[in-house]
Symmetry: C2
Subunit: 593 residues, 2 copies
């Protein structure tokens, strides 16, 4: 059973991702290490003791649509009640609406643990938090006053309604209609698909944020507006009024996250409400809906990246535990009686260490991204701009690298279990089924790569990424300067990997300058992975450098060295694919016809 | 819907894997290209028109245990009847027992297509064929006369009973007991798990081959005997007699291959039969059961490799079809109205080409292995020994590389489908669920790597592998000599890749010579993948070289070049992992405790 790795998480937050310096500098006011540790400890306890025990059974039961209502798995409603009673829903929300206004780093760390317990469950509040963010930034005071306190407390949950059958990655073509009414409200009509937690029995009301198009809106993405559409209208005294004209038409039958209801939502077909059309309230300006969505897109993407980290952590824990217990064959050098635990076989040990390195690398990347988000909020002027750019740069990498790692590590976890891994009761297969959605939603990893190459590399005319690479090189230099034998060839390996990243970056920037977009995009995914691998090596090294000089000192150093000498050699192949792969790709394209 | 790629398969068999030369030389007697094409065409028709349409529904329904009997999915029993009516079950079986004694190559090619249609269905006869092989080689004449004709016709099916809860990869510790009876039969008692198609409604009788231990047997693998245990005893006139004391206790709830019943079988607990103990007949000699099993192990492993190829092919077809139809965004250079088909986006095209290259590379490796099996049977003396060694060398690579490719390609296929890939009705997710077992059963891919490094590399004191590598180098030279512009950098890339393979091979052989087993095994899995990647590049090049000089000439050349310039750069990283990875792995091992 999953046990939240609170210590590892705290160490990574503080000593790898930058929280310790920020706390020392008083960046987050009165917040100190003690409170950080207490929050992480309690979040971890909740994840290990309350969420994780309901994860497998929630997967088996799934959420079901019964007579138009979604029935969630046994015990989940109470779990949610306990979770909001702990105040977790408002961790980063503004104090004015009942939140605790704590750093985003703490939020993503806690989210990691809940997602490890059950990704399907933890998805529910994730969507609410995105809705809170959008509403807080763009909603009118009246809307905020009515909805935010109850969304921050968790009494009501929120959803995000973007996708339609023909509008997934490309929202510009969405068809849901909004019509202005004389009273300042709008009437919404249309169908939305893949709506996560679009309907459920956790809360009495559900606050949908819906993208739709006004009749006179310009075509494409500049004609999309954002609306708040509550399941139940709210009376002036805050009590629930009549049912709005929106309902869940069906649930998807999915590969994983069975506990999470993925809904097709129908707006305004007259099933509820006195007149046809769901009543909606404009959020932000007309035709500026996509901009409103984008303000929270980065955090949503980071949140999905955390799911990758979370699954990787849980899958690794399970595989290590099994490999220690299961005996089979005799490993070379095994001197015990009878069969050795399979963890003694070099191939199994290699697999487990790879899982561990990818998990910790992904975690560090995601936390570093969250740190940049926090610093961008806390800093001023040029500093703030720099941190904003840093978080923008890191977001697609955190999303894509961590979610790919989630899938890969979950798959390795099955393999370590042998035949038992294929049996659902073992629980290893669930991790792969759940993990498989994360590289897809909130922008496929291919979309992330396009974003990374075409929007993030050009930030400050390439100065942001170049500055970042210079920082990475400093870590390699610090490893060399440390003279710690345990690092082995780490310094040289890091140097070479950073050089690969730099070479690929230069090449991509030059293609962008020359307007060779197709060439640049041909290697975008390889570049994204290259970046993530280099960061994995560098952040593991930072951890090794920060490790205290006591008897246990070599654990982080040893993992870093393993990653440097066993995983980082892939960077030269990835750079080669970026720099030399486009021509043969273009030449072969026609064989697909 | 899957359409059997009969032409591609025929081309690969003949011009890449070696069948054309063998046919020209009369190796298979009267067998000529016409008959080969006719058999492939009909096997493909059956796969596309009969098997594939029942694949998805078979997955949804699964096989179920109802009152002790296994109910297979709707239509599957009739499908099996049609399949054996086509004579497919006896394709390679000896003519003396009603088989057609055709080359193994044809069998694996046909199996690929049926597995693409439904891996869960095609598994059923796969097990029968293994049982036929074991029985034919090691059974008494009486046993053969009673059982083989009906197993070859498919009237009865066979199973293989190896695994027990504590004996998976390591069969030496199995506990099922066999006791001698005065009448020359044996009584079998014990429990076997993970028995594929152990019970079903396809046939009236089921012939179990069961590994068990005699009371006075030596410990370990040298004390295991093989028994034939029919579900129903057979009367002297060939009619079915009384029920034997064996039954299916339960079915596993698995990640995939839901249509295939995975049974826990109980032998001899007295539920059936007049006295406790299932009646069994010895196959081969007492305590030599594992040797009997090994005679068919190679073919079983190759058969599982074919499942990897099969899933990769089916997943690739589905993804290409979707990518052509689904429109989203505007790819660079897209000049059409509105959104472009997603296949126009470079990242999607790269993914699809990678899927295609891995599929065709895996297919060629598996067919080349089957060719070596055929040649070992057809040749004499030293030639036969050489081909035997070649098939032994290729088997673990065919099994592991192709099954890893099956998982990877199926996962890429989901990704290409975006959100739809996660929805079960789409069918892309089934491929991943089904594919995930193949790297595990018939010896995990880690076991294959151990076999490759410790048993196959040392064949003829390393001369077998070195001779093979020399042949690979010749292909690279032929590409260089061809002067065909479309090959781009292929020749140089192949040269470098083969050099990586040679360097890693030399290093491993030197470690084995020095008795450094743990070091050699640390990189065994990386080496296995390295070997498979190099073979992928080489066999795609062979295809390119063999391509006719007409207008369509560049399709294979283009795919080969894509693989050479985009996938083969990984070989240097893999070689590095083999040669330089062991020390840091050993140093990090303790952090898993």
């Amino acid at each position: 059973m999953y046990k939240a790795p609170v210590e590892e998480i705290a160490f990574t937050l503080k000593h790898v991702a930058g929280m310790a310096e920020a706390l020392d500098a008083g960046t987050f006011g009165e917040l100190g290490e003690d409170l950080v540790d207490a929050i992480l400890g309690e979040a971890g306890r909740f994840a290990s003791e309350e969420v994780a025990p309901l994860g497998d059974e929630g997967d088996r039961q799934g959420s079901r649509l019964v007579d138009g209502a979604v029935k969630t798995p046994e015990g989940w409603r109470e779990l949610y009640r306990n979770w909001i009673a702990g105040g977790w829903n408002g961790l980063t929300a503004p104090e004015a609406f009942g939140g605790q206004n704590l750093p985003h780093m703490l939020h993503v760390a806690a989210m990691e643990m809940w997602n490890s317990g059950s990704m399907a469950f933890a998805l529910a509040p994730t969507l609410t938090m995105g809705a809170i963010e959008a509403l807080e930034k763009h909603g009118t005071d009246a809307l905020k006053a009515t909805f935010l306190p109850k969304m921050v407390s968790g009494e009501w949950m929120g959803t995000m309604n973007l996708t339609e059958p023909h509008a997934g990655s490309d929202l510009g073509v969405l068809k849901t209609r909004a019509e202005r009414r004389d009273d300042g409200t709008y009437r919404i009509r249309g169908q939305k698909i893949f709506i996560t937690w679009g309907e459920h029995d956790f809360t009495d009301n559900i606050v949908h944020l819906v993208l739709a198009r006004l009749p006179d809106a310009p075509a494409g993405t500049k004609g999309i507006s954002l609306f708040l559409v509550p399941k139940f209208l709210v009376n002036e005294d805050g009590s629930l009024g009549e049912r709005n004209d929106v309902f869940c038409h069906s649930l998807e039958h999915k590969l994983g996250i069975h506990g999470s209801p993925t809904c097709t939502m129908i707006y305004g077909d007259g099933k509820f409400g006195r007149e046809k059309g769901a009543i909606g309230y404009l959020v932000g300006e007309e035709n500026r809906g996509l901009a409103c969505m984008f303000t929270m897109m980065n955090n949503a993407r980071l949140a999905v990246g955390m799911q990758g980290v979370a699954i990787a952590e849980a899958a690794t824990q399970k595989a290590i535990a099994y490999a220690k217990e299961r005996t089979q064959g005799r490993a070379p050098g095994w001197s015990g009686d009878g069969m050795s635990p399979i963890i003694e076989h070099p191939d199994i040990a290699r697999t487990l260490l790879t899982m561990k390195a990818l998990t910790q690398g992904s975690r560090a990347i995601a936390y570093a991204c969250a740190h940049a988000v926090d610093m961008a909020h806390a800093a001023q002027g040029e500093d703030a701009r720099q941190w904003q750019e840093r978080s923008s740069l890191l977001t697609p990498i955190a999303k894509a690298f961590a979610t790919d790692a989630g899938v890969d590590v979950a798959s390795m976890g099955i393999q370590v279990h042998g035949g038992m891994g294929f049996i659902e009761e073992t629980g290893a297969a669930r991790y792969l089924r759940d993990a498989r959605i994360a590289p897809i939603y909130e922008g496929t990893n291919g979309i992330q790569a396009i974003d990374l190459v075409t929007r993030k590399l050009p930030l400050s005319d390439g100065a942001q990424v170049r500055g970042f690479i210079a920082e990475l090189r400093e870590v390699a230099a610090a490893v060399a300067a440390s003279n710690r034998e345990g690092f082995g060839e780490t310094a040289a390996r890091l140097d070479a990997a950073v050089a690969d990243l730099e070479g690929a970056t230069d090449w991509l920037l030059s293609r962008l300058r020359d307007g060779k977009l197709a060439e640049a995009l041909s290697g975008a995914t390889a570049y994204q992975r290259l970046f993530g691998l280099v960061l994995t090596g560098v952040y593991l090294a930072k951890g090794g450098l920060a490790e205290a000089g006591d008897g246990g000192q070599d654990r982080r150093v040893a993992l870093c060295r393993f990653a440097a000498e066993n995983l980082l050699s892939e960077t030269s192949a990835l750079k080669d694919r970026v720099v030399n792969g486009a021509e043969s790709l273009a030449a072969a394209r026609s064989i697909l016809d």
